[in-house]
Symmetry: D5
Subunit: 117 residues, 10 copies
């Protein structure tokens, strides 16, 4: 998996207000653990920051860390959510992965924090 230590933060410039930050990364790629073929998709990260915001360039490097990692769609979206939550401690966060067609089907995974059962 990618290294979450790559993620850098900066202080939320307006912590007194709940406002929404969304970063959309249409160049996400990882590797299918069954076929070893590359997967492609658009990762969308939406959150309400508490004290910390994620720095954009470091987010890019973190996501690039999945380039040669074998991981299922369902797993990678939840894993990225867990990494970002542990670094940013956001008030809330949603991670969405929209993957390109494989075998004539395309898939979308959406995970939210907080969001247990």
């Amino acid at each position: 998996m990618a290294d979450k230590k790559l993620l850098e933060t900066f202080d939320n410039p307006h912590p007194g207000r709940d406002y929404v930050i969304r970063h959309v990364a249409p160049e996400f790629t990882s590797v299918c653990p069954k076929t070893a073929q590359p997967d492609f998709g658009t990762l969308e990260i939406e959150y309400v920051a508490d004290r910390l915001c994620v720095e954009l360039k470091s987010l890019k490097f973190y996501l690039q860390g999945f380039r040669n990692v074998g991981v299922f769609y369902e797993d990678v979206v939840n894993h990225i959510l867990d990494d970002l939550v542990s670094v940013l401690h956001p008030r809330r966060m949603t991670v969405t992965g929209r993957f390109t067609p494989r075998g004539g089907m395309h898939s979308i995974i959406v995970a939210e924090y907080p969001g247990g059962r």
Copy 2:
């Protein structure tokens, strides 16, 4: 009807969280039971997994099982929902069929679980 024994599963990698999985299959085809003509449409399966996720390739083979089956729109969407629910026991699931025009009209069917009266 297609054989639900074709459906394979894998363990939900993040069962502690309610997250959404959607698979979109734009190459669904079956046969009209009245005219014996082929029908075409896009099948969309959205669910929150409990312990099991459906494996994508097996889902493709299962859906291909309708290729030469005569079945009404209203029936096939509910039948697929019933099959997937009985195999996956999801926390919730929605199956949507969007069919191409016949006689100048196109049709959309949406069924949900749980969803009795």
Copy 3:
């Protein structure tokens, strides 16, 4: 007006579940009662069936029955809703008419059952 006796039904194959059926007819045409000019639009019928579903081909013939009938937009949408409700006794139904521009304006009418005041 079109003859609602043209509408044929078949038994709802999954009456134990509230699921949504939508038929979209982009080739609807009637006649303006003021100008005797043809009107054109897209009729959309969405319902939750109780015991009966409308048969698609008979729905097409019923809608074609308005081809040479003079009727206002506001009237025809409600009339079709009344006819379909009286034949199908659905759990709920919405009829939408989206008409093409006349005099530089286009119009949309949406009626629902149940939906009194």
Copy 4:
């Protein structure tokens, strides 16, 4: 301002049901009161009729009455809502104006009845 006496009505053919009527007029034009330059936009009128519906051709003539009138965006949308409400006494009504770019910005105004503070 345009003359609301131009607005003609006809009896709501289905007053026992709350249904939605929307007229969209993409050829609205008035004049900017500051620069005397023409403004352009799309006016959208959506309402639930009580006893009266607005006749389409008379609505067109009424809206044309703003062609050479100098009026602000914020004012004209509310003024049209007030005129239509006073003539139709609808159960509810929304008037939306979407205006074309001026100075690199475009504007949208939405007013509703009832809708005081």
Copy 5:
């Protein structure tokens, strides 16, 4: 930062009604404080006026004031919201910035008033 004294107002012509005003400025540009490279985006300002509306031309000049200012996405959207709220005292306001891709990612920031924690 841009000078909020540039913002001019006019009296809300219909203060007795809560109606929505939205101005969309697709030509917003500022400068990245880290790289000194220009940033580009679409600023959208939606509000319900109380006694005052913002005059469009003055809004354009105010937004142009960021053309050569170095400021983060998260900061500029909140700053514009604060400036407009302090001048207009609106009943509510939302400011949205949709920025063009940098490093293969694009970002969207949405801040609302009132909207503390």
Copy 6:
């Protein structure tokens, strides 16, 4: 077939220049001679006038004359071209019919004058 005597003309206001006139009629409808079912399509008429232009309202009435006529796609497009050529004597003309799907296929017919073998 529709009556070409319905077609009215006016004098070409700029006969000294070869310029292009195109009328697009998306509300064309006729009847299939095999099934007696209505057909729908968009008729596009493009020509360079010589001495005469076709009057728009009369063109509309002429095209409405096919509303209840049974005729094949290939025939109606050539027939309209022949009628318009015989009335207008244009320098050149193209008639295109784009018809809506039937049996999962849609069709386009393009005929030109002059355009023998």
Copy 7:
């Protein structure tokens, strides 16, 4: 008709090269001479300048001069071409008018200079 004396010019800054200038005016409006109803359309002017270019603001004022003029589609496009050619003496010019639907049909007129028979 609009007054061509409103058209101002400036010296072509690069007369040694044949390059293309296109101005697109989607807010053109005039009046139908038969019905006295307003017409709307998009005017597109494309030319290769010789010694003179048309100044944009003056072009806007000139086109606004048709706002209350009754004129046929075929006439107004050729008239604007004639006016612009007489003022600019371009190396070549094309004027295109794309008008909004009337009676269910929309029209496009294209005139070119030089372009006699």
Copy 8:
């Protein structure tokens, strides 16, 4: 392969003119000869008839004949062209196949008659 004897013809109603006929079939499906998996695509047939036109319903049945046939993209498009040319003897014909993505790539094949080397 599908049986070209299914193709029915009717006499070209306007053989004195070279006009274009195009039929677009977005519901084409065959089987990959390597993987035995279904392929999907849009078949487009454009021709200038000589004495014969292809009847639409028979064309549909002919194309359905490939539903369970294993054939490469490059082969099926040329095969359909050969069949149609041998039955219709058109003045010219183009067959285009646009196939849906497989392995992250989609393919388009275009064959013309006459069109040797």
Copy 9:
């Protein structure tokens, strides 16, 4: 004007072949020399290299050099073409500027090299 010395080059890796290179810059901005207001547009540069290609980052810096320069549309497009031709000596080049609406009109300028009278 921007400083053409900012433009860096690298050796064409395939000079033996005429191939096309196109760079599209949707974030171009300059200043209107009449109103001192910012202008915005998309610059598109297409060329066939001879011995030299333009380095992308240096092209970005060069185009940013117009950010605070007052220049007419017609002038800036030709100026950029002249600068790039003098640095790259391409086999051919086209520069296109598509500018955003001003006064309800948008403009497009296209200049080519070689391309005298």
Copy 10:
């Protein structure tokens, strides 16, 4: 660079006819040789086969061979053209690369065979 030995071929099933084959690969990725950052784009390969066609799966593996290779846009498109020409000896071939934005600009490269100076 990727290994062209990965490219497999099959015999052109219709060598007697010049027909067009186009494969579109929207999931191409390589690495920028200056910044070591990944690049993304859509590769389009269009050719007229002589005796050999490229097998689709082998083409996918060949293109995946650039995943971790540092190479300029201008170079990779020409390199792929050279590799495919040397293996397939096509009658003609065009390779197009459309790359995603970097620094606010996106680039397109088009190379053809035969296509020397």
